[in-house]
Symmetry: C2
Subunit: 358 residues, 2 copies
């Protein structure tokens, strides 16, 4: 059944406070096109950067996961003391074969002072945007200066977003594509036509990384895999490891990790989910927020291998929710949902119910 | 701004799988009146009872709370392996004075196999209904046989729901009302006129409990309080302690707890939030599900004091979500939200975005 606005029958008149702005998938796509994909990636990266700079303020907790044999459903809450945000997100690698998304998401922002929600939004599109913006923000600090070429290994739903964010924020102009399924690379190349990016479809990971300063891995099997082996990775590159993010699922040979300076979002979560689950629990890592806020150096030397072991953290979603809340003001890229019961007399919820009787 | 269905501009045609049925506050109230309040309380109690009988199946975790100086925002997830549900709920006692609800809530049910949401619904009204249904379900097993009179101490938003559930499920016919604010009792009595319940407004808690077999306390200060003192409570009653449910907030004198058989929902949560936070961490309690499923006796003797130390648990919300999902089938008490991005080719999220460009 399609959405038919006429189906919405409203018998009562909710108060303003009971209404929550809702951004549908359709409206999110309109917002993205209204702002422009690359501009929105750049603006999102700025919001994320601002929140990484005030990292200490946030209530941080590893995500709350409910695992099953076929996937995981997660809640990712955080708060800066004024706003509270959370994302619902699933991860079901087997979904693709059934014609469904591996990852779907929605999110909510609320006012800490009242506890009332102030924004409900789709986050499948928004997560793709914020993940790419986060990768590019990290690369801006960690990749070799003047990086122009990225190897994009794994050409699924995230690949175009990654490519455009690296173009907009880092200045990359060439994407070398590889996927076990060549059709995925062809899809990605076709989607990127006309964006100003040069794409090269490659037949092997080895070919894809030739001449690349940035190596992005974004594959989604739920198992240990070796997308990059130790002998493939030379000095002076930045590795942007996006895939993985499940216990028991990694993409990189451990030898690469041993030779890299490893940057992570939130260590307690990354040690469980990231590439570093292969290493000892006390293996040194650098928190990305310390680099962003100038406490710790990012790239120190031309021959250094930097690795952003990205698993995705709640604060990035919080930044994206803040962005959408701010950006939809005065637009029609949302409509209000009657989500909260808000009787005139707060003690008289039952009276509100009685008065609604037709 | 009021909801105006005409504001919904849909530029793209989402697939069926991308649509999530949404029950607004308005539609929830229509559903309640369609079923009938007392019938719905009875049906909800049956769903909750069914889930308490298969307690072992559930993924259980204490709620995930984000505390601030003025309140708390909580996520309450659970899963039975086939469906996954969670509730967002705030608790802000100071809200009432500002004309807002102390508690607002919404919830979501999802398919564990795909990770896709299948229901989004308001839960402020629904929480009031499920809390009352749970109290009455517990009283059915624990209160003295033939209980006809309930003292209702605290006559806020929950009081009418509690009264009607006890009438429908336990057979109570008289409610003795007490509140520090007599206007609240008058509101409750007025709302219950015509329901078949006799109401008596009392001037003190002592007067309210005269002749009552069931003592319900439902107050909401965020502090330790003594709504019932030890010498007020005689033998052979059932205490239904609904208020509290925060660390640092209780309603009963500890002496009452020492003389009672204490029944709880989920001990790890109740020991933090319930009346029993006043007792040693190993003080014996009985899990309510064990009574419901016949493993343990409920009320054993006429002079026994039974205490349901209720804090509200995720499985009760899960039952309520299951109920709404089942009950709205074939009705128009919902409309579909375009919440999930679901491109034809799951790897081609970006292509979906490009095709949406007007």
């Amino acid at each position: 059944m399609m959405i038919n606005p006429k189906e919405i029958k409203q018998m009562t008149t909710p108060s303003d406070k009971a209404l929550v702005p809702f951004v549908s998938v359709d409206n999110m796509m309109r917002l993205i096109h209204h702002v422009g994909i690359k501009d929105m990636l750049t603006e999102l990266a700025r919001y994320i950067e601002d929140d990484f700079k005030r990292w200490d303020l946030f209530d941080k907790t590893p995500r709350v996961a409910s695992h099953s044999d076929v996937g995981v459903i997660e809640l990712m809450p955080t708060s800066d003391g004024e706003a509270y945000g959370f994302k619902y997100v699933n991860g079901h690698p087997k979904n693709t074969a059934e014609g469904l998304q591996t990852v779907t998401a929605f999110g909510l922002l609320a006012d800490v002072y009242t506890g009332y929600p102030v924004l409900l939004t789709e986050m499948t599109m928004l997560t793709a945007m914020r993940t790419a913006a986060t990768s590019a923000m990290a690369a801006k600090y960690l990749a070799p200066k003047g990086s122009t070429t990225m190897a994009m290994i794994g050409n699924g739903a995230q690949s175009e977003f990654q490519s455009l964010a690296m173009q907009a924020i880092v200045g990359v102009d060439t994407i070398r594509l590889y996927d076990v399924d060549r059709a995925a690379s062809e899809k990605c190349a076709a989607n990127l036509a006309g964006t100003g990016l040069r794409t090269v479809i490659c037949s092997s990971p080895e070919e894809a990384i030739e001449g690349a300063q940035i190596l992005t891995t974004c594959t989604a099997d739920k198992q240990y895999a070796t997308i990059l082996s130790d002998n493939m990775v030379g000095a002076g590159v930045h590795i942007n490891a996006i895939g993985g993010d499940c216990p028991g699922k990694t993409e990189l040979a451990s030898g690469i990790l041993e030779r890299s300076d490893i940057f992570v979002e939130y260590p307690p979560q990354t040690r469980i989910e990231g590439e570093i689950q292969q290493l000892d629990a006390d293996h040194p890592v650098i928190e990305l927020w310390e680099v962003i806020s100038g406490k710790v150096a990012g790239r120190r030397a031309a021959d250094q291998i930097t690795l952003f072991d990205s698993v995705g953290f709640a604060i990035e979603d919080f930044s994206a929710l803040r962005y959408v809340r701010d950006r939809i003001k005065g637009t029609d890229f949302f409509f209000d949902l009657d989500l909260l019961a808000d009787p005139d007399d707060p003690r008289d919820l039952f009276g509100m119910l009685m008065r609604a009787k037709g």
